[in-house]
């Protein structure tokens, strides 16, 4: 008799313990680097909102600066949601319109609507936001808190040196579906958890239409391929769609470069990243030590 098809569940998790662990991680990174404050870019989406809520578990609200960085086409709903988060947390906030900063660069890229051009424009915006965040972190004497989740990091659905740039990544090991349950346990407003995920880099953009699948489907596949180390055939045997599984596996491989520092040509006896290996935080690395 053939075996029952295997199940392909979403990755589960205990939100309460997860929050405890992540808040401890953030506190520890601050303590080890000698900082007390955090800066986070707040779009009003579930990722940056959850990151901000987690930050507020780790530091007093006055030590958290949420920077809202709209572009002229950004959705007004996003801004309203970001405002709601700031009011709920009672944290500090700044609004920096990136439109005048990115327009000259966008003119260089030129007109046109092709997907490659849209991606280039989106990258300019993501990298401009990074520039603003790092400048504000210097002014506010703070570390930049990352807002990348595991689903987008594994799919490479993010901008190198843009939204991926951060001093620490609190939600980088949480799939999008897990993040929603953590957000709920953190008390993130339901309207933020429930809304359609979007990078909001151009009007009408949504993650799921761009990726061509729902986050739940992507998370099931990633959890099987990455966490459970299944082969593509085993995923397909368990009922996952071959076309999508193959696309995800290819995408993970193609974007490996985004998750690692650039390779260094080894010349000397001892090379940073190859055989000069140290923890990031160690005696002498703490500010003021």
């Amino acid at each position: 008799m053939p075996a029952e098809p295997e199940s392909t569940p979403l990755p589960e998790l205990d939100p309460v313990q997860t929050i405890e662990v992540i808040a401890g991680f953030i506190r520890s990174q601050l303590e080890q680097t000698g900082f007390e404050r955090l800066v986070v870019g707040l779009s009003g989406g579930v990722d940056s909102t959850a990151a901000a809520f987690l930050a507020a578990r780790a530091v007093p609200a006055g030590n958290l600066l949420a920077v809202r960085m709209p572009y002229r086409t950004s959705s007004p709903d996003s801004e309203a949601d970001a405002q709601l988060v700031v009011e709920t947390l009672g944290c500090r906030t700044e609004r920096v319109d990136i439109t005048p900063m990115v327009e000259p660069m966008l003119q260089l890229i030129g007109p046109g609507d092709g997907p490659a051009l849209q991606v280039r424009r989106g990258n300019v915006m993501a990298r401009q936001r990074m520039i603003v965040l790092y400048d504000r972190s210097a002014a506010f004497d703070a570390l930049v808190l990352g807002t990348s989740n595991k689903t987008e990091v594994l799919l490479g659905y993010s901008t190198l040196h843009g939204d991926m740039a951060a001093a620490l990544q609190p939600i980088g090991d949480l799939y999008k579906s897990q993040l929603r349950s953590v957000a709920a346990a953190l008390g993130v407003p339901e309207r933020i958890i429930g809304k359609e995920p979007s990078a909001d880099l151009w009007p009408g953009q949504t993650d799921e239409s761009e990726l061509g699948a729902s986050y739940d489907d992507l998370d099931r596949i990633l959890f099987a391929l990455v966490d459970r180390r299944w082969t593509v055939d085993r995923c397909v045997g368990a009922g996952l769609e071959r076309r999508l599984v193959e696309w995800v596996a290819r995408r993970v491989a193609q974007t490996e470069f985004k998750r690692q520092p650039a390779p260094v040509a080894k010349i000397s006896l001892r090379t940073p990243g190859i055989d000069h290996l140290y923890p990031r935080r160690r005696p002498g690395s703490r500010r003021g030590s």
């Binding site: 589960e12 998790l13 939100p15 313990q17 405890e20 662990v21 991680f25 520890s28 923890p279 005696p283």
Partner: protein
């Protein structure tokens, strides 16, 4: 019938063990010595006769190339000085050891009144998954129980991954240990999820099994705190020789976990369950020798075509 108990019958002794579930600072040996001193004073105030600190308590865990910078000799006077804060009692603590021959080991020292009375070098260095220990330290090559005198007799000392190999605790039990002290730096994975709970449950099942099969007490001291992205889970435990939980620490939080171990329990447990005495070490040795030889392709009396066993080979023909 009415005979007095033999004079050597040990008295029932409560032996207090403290497990210092702390968060060391990465790479800061002197700061960690000071930290340990504070916890040791508290343990003494709680009546501890043995205080255990976690694996690499003096250095932190994710050291990479910091290893030679934080390594000390097992004879370092700072270790002796620490132990003198707890007069007449035992202190077990993890550190990076540099031997006389400049070999670097993930070691645990057992000290009393400033004297090093035992040393264990981690035998099994995990170098897989998130672990990379074999790259930076060298494995120990001894598995022994350490004589500490009455009332405990002998103690088996080990470091974290050592416990994932049943050979080590079973050898220490056979070597006379009545208490196995495992000092650990266990990082959490999938906290709170079924997978994460299974990982912790795995540790528990293993400890419970060793207590049962070795008829020994177990003192497991696991650190807490964060290094890089890792969070260490704590949950230190003290088990009686029948596997009963005598004390258990919280997850993720610093805690001095104190419990009392009844030495008489070992005696009674070993009468009821004489597993150690019934072990067939000579048989185990012979079979292990055979497996080693076969794997290496060496000739031996167990090679194909050879008689059934060495004993039968000795029998006179006819």
């Amino acid at each position: 019938m009415g005979r007095p108990a033999p004079s050597h019958t040990p008295e029932r002794v409560r032996y207090t063990v403290a497990l210092a579930q702390l968060a060391p600072r990465l790479g800061e040996v002197d700061a960690n010595l000071e930290l340990a001193a504070g916890w040791l004073r508290r343990a003494v105030a709680e009546g501890a006769q043995l205080t255990a600190f976690p694996e690499l308590a003096l250095t932190g865990y994710l050291l990479s190339d910091l290893v030679p910078e934080v390594a000390i000799s097992a004879a370092d006077p700072r270790l002796a000085e620490l132990s003198r804060l707890a007069p007449g009692t035992l202190v077990a603590i993890g550190f990076v050891e540099e031997t006389d021959h400049h070999r670097y080991a993930n070691s645990a020292a057992l000290l009393r009144d400033g004297e090093l009375i035992g040393l264990h070098r981690k035998v099994f260095l995990p170098t897989y998954g998130l672990f990379d220990e074999g790259r930076f330290t060298r494995p120990g090559d001894r598995i022994r129980a350490i004589e500490v005198g009455e009332p405990m007799g002998r103690i088996g000392l080990s470091v974290c991954e050592d416990f994932w190999h049943a050979s080590l605790p079973m050898l220490q039990a056979q070597d006379g240990a009545s208490l196995l002290v495992n000092v650990a730096a266990g990082p959490a994975r999938a906290p709170g999820s079924a997978a994460g709970l299974r990982a912790i449950a795995g540790w528990h099942r293993m400890q419970d099994t060793y207590a049962l099969l070795g008829t020994v007490g177990i003192a497991f001291c696991n650190r807490v705190g964060n290094e890089e992205g890792l969070t260490f889970w704590g949950g230190s435990r003290l088990l009686g020789a029948d596997g009963s939980v005598l004390a258990e620490g919280p997850l993720y939080e610093e805690a001095l976990v104190v419990g009392a171990f009844e030495t008489d329990d070992v005696r009674m447990q070993r009468y009821q369950l004489p597993l150690l005495a019934d072990e067939r070490l000579e048989l185990v040795r012979r079979e292990i020798d055979r497996i080693i030889s076969e794997r290496a392709g060496l000739p031996g009396p167990w090679a194909p075509g050879a008689p059934e066993s060495p004993e039968s080979a000795d029998e006179p023909a006819g």
